[in-house]
Symmetry: C2
Subunit: 137 residues, 2 copies
DNA sequence: TTATCAATTTGTAACGATTACAACTTGATA
DNA sequence: TATCAAGTTGTAATCGTTACAAATTGATAA
């Protein structure tokens, strides 16, 4: 069944699969619009009435430490989260506030200036107006 | 003299050149290590004893609106500022916490997925260990 | 000069996302 | 069924940033 599947996935990544952790990871996988802690908390609070916002923070921190999620700081007011840990870019539309993923050719970015540096993480944040909003204005 | 030079520069960018604004812009130009509001405030407070931290915030907001400075949100705890508004990447060393600038070939990043999008701003944040720290460990 | 008015600066209070922390709960093991 | 570590919860504290109202400045006109 589903929960065992997610449970095994968490266990395989060194995370004890509690009910809360399974539900939060499941939510992240199914909601790819880069939700905030607030969004995740509100969405799951109906299923898990005892859920605490601290648990959401703790759980996401564990996910990041274990490498199965990443933080997206494209907003300066709140952090967003993504279960897709491949290197990819994020575009934020200043009009509809939607965040789009886009592919990036990692090799082409790695600058000559960083050739002797160890790079563990790469974040690319682009800002502007998306195709949909351009056409609607 | 210097102050007229900066004053003219601000005026040419639609910014009324107050004493505070001139000093803050001058500081940004001369201190390229991407200072925080706290750093700027502490550095200038000795020259301008009446300086308020709110003024530093206000001034930087004006600079960004007028396009002569940019915010660097490479830290999740505090915002840093840069008077270099060319598109370029920032690398943060997790060991010494220094932030390095690096050149980026803008064209090579612009993804096929964004071809119908208007992109106004591009931020690239890399994280890892710098050359110096690697050699010292 | 003096009056006027808008722009700028200042200090304090409020805000809000995040973290610290202690108490409580859970679940595995013996 | 006792024990103990790990996980969860709620509250309080932290701290960078913003809101706001009062004070100051500087340009302009009478």
């Amino acid at each position: 069944m589903q929960e065992n599947y997610f449970g095994d996935f968490l266990r395989n990544n060194g995370i004890k699969p509690s009910f809360q952790r399974i539900k939060i990871y499941e939510y992240l996988l199914q909601n790819k619009e880069h939700p905030t802690v607030e969004t995740i908390y509100n969405a799951l609070n109906s299923q898990i009435p005892t859920l605490s916002k601290t648990t959401v923070y703790n759980t996401l921190k564990v996910f990041i430490e274990k490498g199965i999620a990443m933080a997206i700081t494209i907003d300066d007011t709140e952090v967003r989260f993504d279960a897709d840990v491949k290197v990819h870019g994020h575009f934020k539309c200043e009009h509809c506030h939607k965040i789009y993923d886009f592919e990036v050719d990692v090799e082409s970015i790695s600058s000559e200036a960083l050739k002797d540096f160890d790079v563990y993480d790469q974040q690319m944040f682009f800002y502007g107006v998306c195709k949909v909003c351009k056409n609607n204005s």
